[in-house]
């Protein structure tokens, strides 16, 4: 699953640690999310979407072909 976390975070001028503090997770989780190594739970996805004021599907892009490869 692709995501626009890095892009949105940079737009707001937040560091990875700032985003982690706001979302209540570790900085390592933000690093893993941004690099696409980790997919968030639905709760964390909602929390991140609220932080950025965007709908979930505009932040996390589900690519069915890639997921089922």
């Amino acid at each position: 699953m692709k995501n626009r976390l890095e892009e949105l975070r940079s737009k707001l001028g937040w560091t990875q640690q700032e985003l982690a503090d706001r979302a209540g997770v570790s900085r390592q989780t933000i690093i893993s999310l941004e690099s696409g190594r980790y997919n968030p739970s639905i709760l964390l996805a909602f929390r991140l979407a609220r932080l950025f004021g965007e709908p979930i599907e505009s932040i996390f892009i589900y690519d069915e072909e890639v997921e089922y490869e």
């Binding site: 982690a20 503090d21 209540g24 570790s26 989780t29 893993s32 980790y38």
Partner: protein, 151 residues
């Protein structure tokens, strides 16, 4: 009080409880050694868990009380503890350890049985080894059943 502050305070409370339990166990062991001269009861049965529990408590208290001096650091520590990725990684690491343990214990049991040319049956070591294979499996199965009813 938010979730992270509550988690932070719970860890400090747990640290004090462990330290107190450790002191009680260790003190009990020392008392048995001094008063009863260890007659009938091995004081190490109390002193060893006392050191373990007390050490665990001290580590928790040192970690959280030191972080507590800085609110931001305390929040980050609590966030790291409840972090969903860290939890998922701990679960996976636990699964790997469990699989490794079952394989290792089973091989050891089979090896011991083979080495004793089938004579090992109900000697103490064989029973402990069999228990080391069966017990984790039983706990795993019942945990799965219990978790299935809760989630």
């Amino acid at each position: 009080m938010n979730k992270q502050t509550r988690a932070y305070l719970n860890h400090i409370r747990l640290g004090w409880i462990l330290l107190a339990a450790g002191a009680l166990f260790f003190g009990g062991g020392v008392l048995i050694r001094l008063l009863a001269g260890g007659a009938g009861v091995n004081p190490k049965w109390f002193e060893t868990p006392g050191i373990f529990l007390g050490g665990w408590g001290i580590i928790l208290l040192a970690r959280y009380l030191l972080a507590g001096a800085n609110l931001q650091a305390a929040r980050r520590l609590a966030a790291e503890e409840s972090d969903e990725r860290s939890r998922a990684l701990r679960v996976r690491a636990g699964n790997v350890a469990f699989t490794f343990w079952i394989v290792f214990a089973s091989l050891a049991l089979v090896g011991y049985s083979l080495l004793s040319m089938g004579e090992a049956g109900f000697d103490e070591l064989w029973l402990y080894m069999a228990l080391a294979v069966i017990l984790p499996g039983v706990i795993y199965t019942f945990s799965l059943l219990w978790l299935n009813t809760r989630h």
